[in-house]
């Protein structure tokens, strides 16, 4: 599609998505999403994890096909059978993991499609370099086109990707979290290039978790929540903080509030400190974090993606090196914490990424359950399979894990049941402190309630839990919340404050 920006159909509308729906077994990822991209506009797409952003990107980039709904490019119905079709229609996606070829030069990367097309003809390198240079100039970049792509910074690589898209006559570009891996000063480079592209009539979708960026660069924004379109707004008439409120949603907040009223937090007694961090940082993403978790307490660490929760949870578990500060477990200062030591001290981590960090998918439920405490089930160095099975059956039925057999591979389970296996693993390991990182990510509503129930039960029995979450309902069910932003603690709220002054919490989030 090489038609210029001036088009008869739909007054500058480059791409339209109409009532797009997509389901995966057990999860409805998107329902009835409408999206419209105008030439020369930057449209932001925001939402919490699991809101459906990545599914929408996959559909727009031709990786997946919607169950229903249609896509129109300049008013014409299109069917993408693969990423190539999307590119051919002028719709280029720049993924978070860049696709520049590191061993090729800038010129070769920019001109890749053209080079691939001129199969036999001798390649004129002078012409290729000249063209690449002129494409880059359109973006306001004077990058040396003979440099190898691997020697470029991430921001420069992004410019190369954008130039490549421009060279391919892209009329719409999707940028999937381009700033996630970008140092702050390089964000400006990207934004300058994006503004130039905008002035030249390219439509862009901009995905980011950073609100200030969206207010800075976007003309309009669509907010996704739980697979639904929560709303589409022009940035001009949008008060600060509104986007986050839309992302998190009010219905969910009310639901959480009622749930907490019936929650057991009132009856619990909060005991002595069991896990303390004093000015802990990793030197890269989290800085100066101090927190104290008490016996019988549920402590929330609230923060949007990229606020450093993942890194903090790994540091508290010894899976990530800390560069400063001290950690105390049960009052004892621990010098060099490793996961192995943390487990011995009764700490367990439930990673957000259950599939790659929490479970061994090819192994059975039983083998996963007993993995962190083989000692308990071996006699004279021999694993007592019978004991393992009996204990696994007992714990999994207590957790109401649904499976036809404990010999079933963990990879065949649904998200909620997988999380239960991870919980079972730590119960078997006799953990007293559990660190839940985004405990219900990718888990459906019903199973979510069950997981919350498990956390409550664990704490009610004298355990302690840290819940690191970007979901307001999860934060609000805790006794206390620490709010994290850009790797630092920006506030702390008690349970009552969270309920009574919800807006303050929301503002801290943003």
């Amino acid at each position: 599609m090489s038609s210029p920006v001036t088009d008869t159909a739909g007054a500058g509308v480059v791409l339209e998505a109409i009532k797009i729906s997509k389901s995966y077994p057990g999860v409805r990822a998107l329902s009835n999403i409408d999206l419209s991209l105008q030439a020369g506009r930057i449209h932001a797409l925001v939402g919490l994890n699991g809101a459906g952003k990545s599914t929408l990107v996959k559909i727009l980039s031709g990786v997946e096909r919607p169950d229903s709904g249609e896509l129109r490019v300049r008013g014409t119905h299109v069917n993408f059978h693969g990423p190539r079709d999307a590119v051919a229609a002028g719709l280029v996606t720049i993924h978070q993991e860049l696709s520049v070829l590191p061993n090729l030069s800038v010129a070769e990367n920019v001109m890749l499609a053209a080079i691939a097309r001129s199969e036999i003809r001798p390649i004129s390198w002078t012409r290729i370099r000249a063209t690449a240079r002129s494409v880059l100039a359109r973006l306001g970049s004077d990058l040396d086109v003979r440099l190898k792509a691997r020697d470029l910074s991430v921001a420069q690589q992004q410019v190369v990707e954008l130039a490549k898209a421009l060279q391919g006559k892209a009329s719409a570009i999707l940028l999937d979290e381009p700033t996630a891996t970008l140092p702050q000063r390089d964000v400006d480079i990207l934004f300058t290039v994006m503004r130039r592209l905008r002035s030249q009539g390219t439509a862009m979708v901009y995905i980011s978790h950073r609100m200030e960026e969206i207010y800075e660069i976007a003309d309009s924004v669509s907010v996704l929540r739980d697979g639904h379109l929560a709303g589409t707004y022009a940035m001009a008439d949008l008060p600060a903080g509104r986007i986050v409120k839309e992302m998190i949603g009010t219905t969910e907040v009310d639901e959480a509030a009622t749930q907490v009223d019936t929650g057991p937090s009132q009856q619990r007694t909060i005991g002595e400190p069991v896990l303390e961090a004093a000015r802990v940082g990793d030197g890269k993403t989290i800085f100066d974090i101090s927190l104290t978790l008490h016996r019988g307490e549920m402590l929330a660490v609230a923060g949007l993606v990229g606020s450093g929760q993942g890194e903090l949870s790994k540091c508290l578990f010894g899976a990530r090196k800390i560069s400063g500060g001290t950690l105390r477990v049960n009052g004892r200062a621990i010098k060099r914490l490793t996961p192995r030591r943390a487990i011995r001290l009764g700490v367990g981590l439930l990673p957000a990424d259950r599939k790659y960090e929490g479970l061994i998918l090819g192994m059975s439920i039983r083998d996963n359950t007993t993995l962190a405490n083989h000692r308990r089930y071996s006699r004279f160095g021999i694993l007592q399979n019978r004991d393992e099975s009996r204990e696994t059956k007992r714990i999994t039925s207590e957790l109401r894990l649904k499976a036809y057999s404990i010999a079933q591979a963990a990879g065949t389970l649904s998200g909620g049941n997988q999380q239960k296996v991870v919980v079972a693993k730590w119960l078997v390991a006799q953990s007293r402190i559990l660190i839940f990182e985004e405990p219900t990510r990718g888990i459906d509503v019903h199973a979510k309630q069950e997981i919350y129930g498990l956390i409550h039960d664990f704490v009610a029995r004298g355990g302690s839990a840290i819940v690191l979450s970007s979901e307001l309902s999860e934060v609000m069910m805790c006794d206390r919340a620490i709010v994290l932003a850009k790797g630092r603690v920006v506030g702390e709220l008690g349970h009552e404050e969270m309920i009574s002054d919800r807006n303050r919490l929301l503002e801290m989030f943003a």
């Binding site: 699991g50 599914t55 036809y404």
Partner: protein, 378 residues
Amino acid sequence: MALGQDTRTPKSARRAANDGDTMSVDWRGFARRLGARSYILLLLILVMVIGGMLSPFFFTGRNIQNILVTGSTVSVLAIGQFAVIVTAGIDLSVGAILALGTVVTALLLEHGQSTLVTIVVCLALSAIVGLLNGALVVYARITPFIATLGTMTLLTGVAYIVQSGTQINITDQGFLNAIAGDTFGVSNLILIFLVVTIVSALVAQFTPYGRQLYAIGGNAEAARLSGIAVKRDLLLAYAFSGLMAGLAGVMLAAELQQGSSLVGQGDELTAIAAAVVGGASLFGGTGSPLTSVAGGFVIGIITNIMNLLGIASQPQLITQGLVILIALYLTSGDCPRLVAAIGARIPHRRSAGGPDGAPSDDAPKSAATGPVERLREP
């Protein structure tokens, strides 16, 4: 939440599902489990039946003994190799360690050392070399393929220098009797291999260490976050592989009555082929010592049959290559998925979606798990 009517459980999942602890009777699951375990045994029986049909000499006691003796060193190598492969590693140096083992054995005996000292020194040396492999992988973070390729070349040179000349003959009858002699009419070589096989099968199945190796191969990061001492376990796995190669060296030295730097060339590949034909995935986490041994015998018996039939060595190589490829295709290739996909399409065609219902753009680890991973985060 639907557990998924997956008739397409991948091999890795089937391996896990190997004990009988079903909560309810599930015949499909039972058949699946049986199939995974018995595939290699069926193949072994099939090969033997074919052997019996093609040659009247196949089922003679002499030929069986012959197969077992030849297979004993290969099996020991394959068991060591399996311990590394199950962690998603590979050990290319076992052939060279074996050669060095024969040379060291012959040399020590020539210098009048006792049988016991010879064996202990040779085994210790091999284990140390294996430990070195492990250190290169764990601490220097060199990929197993390259690290062991380096030690392989290095050790071949060392074996050659230590040998300093042509092969060294072994005349120490005590040693020869101890390793290659008979006990109750059965060759000691076969007895050694049987003991090694049984012990390692038990270790793999019933000890924390065995379970941890599978866990590391299945997902090293999750294993680490479960408190498993990944580095220590990997070091031990490579050391064990070296030890087994040294043992195979001692056995082969006794069998050939000589030490030579030229033996063992290509044996690492035979050992890898044995483990993989036996159902071990090079991505780790699957297979077992028993099936690795069985895989070795499938290859060994086919070679034996061709020898009995007087087939020249060139066509033998072609046949061997084809057997390995076909066996691999049946176990770890796309075949099980293909069969499942065809089966799924015949009764009821899916209305929406591409040829494969599950999207497959996930990270490689998940791709290895295959279509079972249906429930994805949106």
